[in-house]
């Protein structure tokens, strides 16, 4: 297990990196949406410690925190919001605050408490919505974000598609493992004497 301090250090490193790499990442929608935003989500993810995982009755089943994350994701999925982050400094600051604290952090907390069926549903939903985004961004005859070029928009569309495929493989592959192979891999990476 990684120590909390190391996690905090890592989080601040990634956050600082995101701030300094702003120009480079925000030049293209692909890196803006599929590199910078996930990195910021990771920052929030790393901020969660054991105490935060037990939030009490109001977050039973993880619904409250997951809903916060979902609404914030929905907000940043709007092409308008992304455009605004590029043209207004206030929105850019808002992005750097809300993506870690209102997506990454609550997602991690909620996920830990979510029912397996809810998790499965959210995974299916995520793959499906990435498919929708890919569908629209690859094909739209107009520029969805006025700040970006059309072919860059298509790159983003393919990015969504490949992400959807990667997640589908990542999430379904472990289901094929039998107990025997799982144990074998565990032994390989974490050998025990027993």
């Amino acid at each position: 297990m990684i120590d909390n301090k190391i996690k905090l250090l890592l989080a601040s490193l990634i956050f600082t990196f995101c701030i300094f790499s702003r120009g480079a990442f925000e030049k293209f929608p692909l890196t803006h949406i599929l590199v910078q935003l996930p990195l910021l989500i990771c920052v929030g993810y790393l901020l969660v410690d054991e105490k935060l995982l037990r939030l009490g009755e109001w977050n039973k089943g993880g619904y409250a925190t997951l809903l916060i994350a979902i609404f914030t994701i929905a907000f940043w999925m709007l092409p308008r919001s992304i455009d605004a982050a590029l043209s207004s400094n206030n929105m850019e600051v808002l992005k750097f605050i809300t993506v870690p604290l209102l997506i990454g952090l609550p997602l991690k907390i909620g996920w830990a408490q979510a029912h397996p069926i809810l998790k499965g549903f959210l995974k299916a939903q995520a793959i499906s919505m990435l498919g929708v985004a890919a569908f629209i961004y690859i094909h739209a005859p107009i520029r969805i974000c006025v700040s970006y070029l059309e072919n860059a928009q298509q790159d983003l569309g393919y990015g969504f598609l490949y992400t959807a495929i990667a997640l589908a493989v990542l999430w379904s592959a472990p289901l094929f493992l039998s107990r025997e192979t799982k144990n074998f891999h565990l032994q390989l990476f974490f050998p025990t004497n027993s």
Binding site: W58, N59, Y63, A64, I70, F75, D83, A84, V146, S147
Partner: protein, 200 residues
């Protein structure tokens, strides 16, 4: 507080924020927001002088009660502006057949006035049959360009091939010089309907 209450509050608050930021789910994109805002605010456009393809000068806002359809182009554009030229040509033909023909002007305004000289403007007009009467091609003075684009809310970004990417749309200015509607470039029927509504 129990979970049910907290969840309800989050759903209400989240829906409210999304509703608010998308103007009631009507505008998901910046372009959609621009159109919606124009229809609500109807901002008055700057009355700048344009140089038409024949070398004559005209004002963007016209005092003789015309409705003006403005489209932004650059004539060396390889694709979109040429397609849009086709749509405007169809719009010109539709207008010619109707009573509103005396009261409508169409102006394709170049946002690349340095490269688009009078020859280029005329050539573009010839290719798309702009008659110079209802529909003319024009360019602003270099000094007016920035304020003009800003007033219309048009974003122009240079692309990798030495051209530009820009929002293409039909901007309709009413008799009082207010930008009243923005329509998709290909929405010729919608434009005709809107014009007939504005000119009873």
């Amino acid at each position: 507080m129990n979970a049910f209450k907290v969840n309800s509050v989050i759903i209400l608050l989240g829906s409210f924020i999304l509703w608010f930021t998308t103007d009631g789910l009507q505008a998901l994109t910046t372009e959609g927001a621009r159109r919606l805002e124009v229809e609500k605010q109807k901002p008055v456009m700057p009355n700048i002088t344009l140089e038409t393809m024949s070398g004559a000068h005209t004002r963007l806002l016209n005092s003789s009660g015309h409705v003006t359809v403005v489209e932004f182009i650059y004539t060396t554009c390889p694709f979109i502006c040429q397609v849009d030229g086709g749509y405007l040509s169809r719009l010109q033909n539709e207008i010619k057949e109707r009573a509103i023909r005396e009261k409508v002007r169409i102006i394709s305004v170049s946002f690349d006035p340095l490269r688009d000289n009078l020859n280029e403007l005329s050539y573009y007009a010839k290719r798309h049959n702009a008659d110079g009467h209802i529909w003319t091609i024009a360019r602003p003075g270099v000094e007016d360009l920035k304020s003009l684009l800003k007033a219309f809310g048009v974003v122009v970004i240079p692309d990798e091939e030495g051209g530009y990417v820009h929002n293409s749309a039909m901007h309709i200015i009413d008799q009082q010089g207010r930008l009243s509607f923005i329509l998709d470039s290909n929405d010729v029927q919608g434009a005709v309907k809107t014009l007939e509504r504005m000119l009873p």
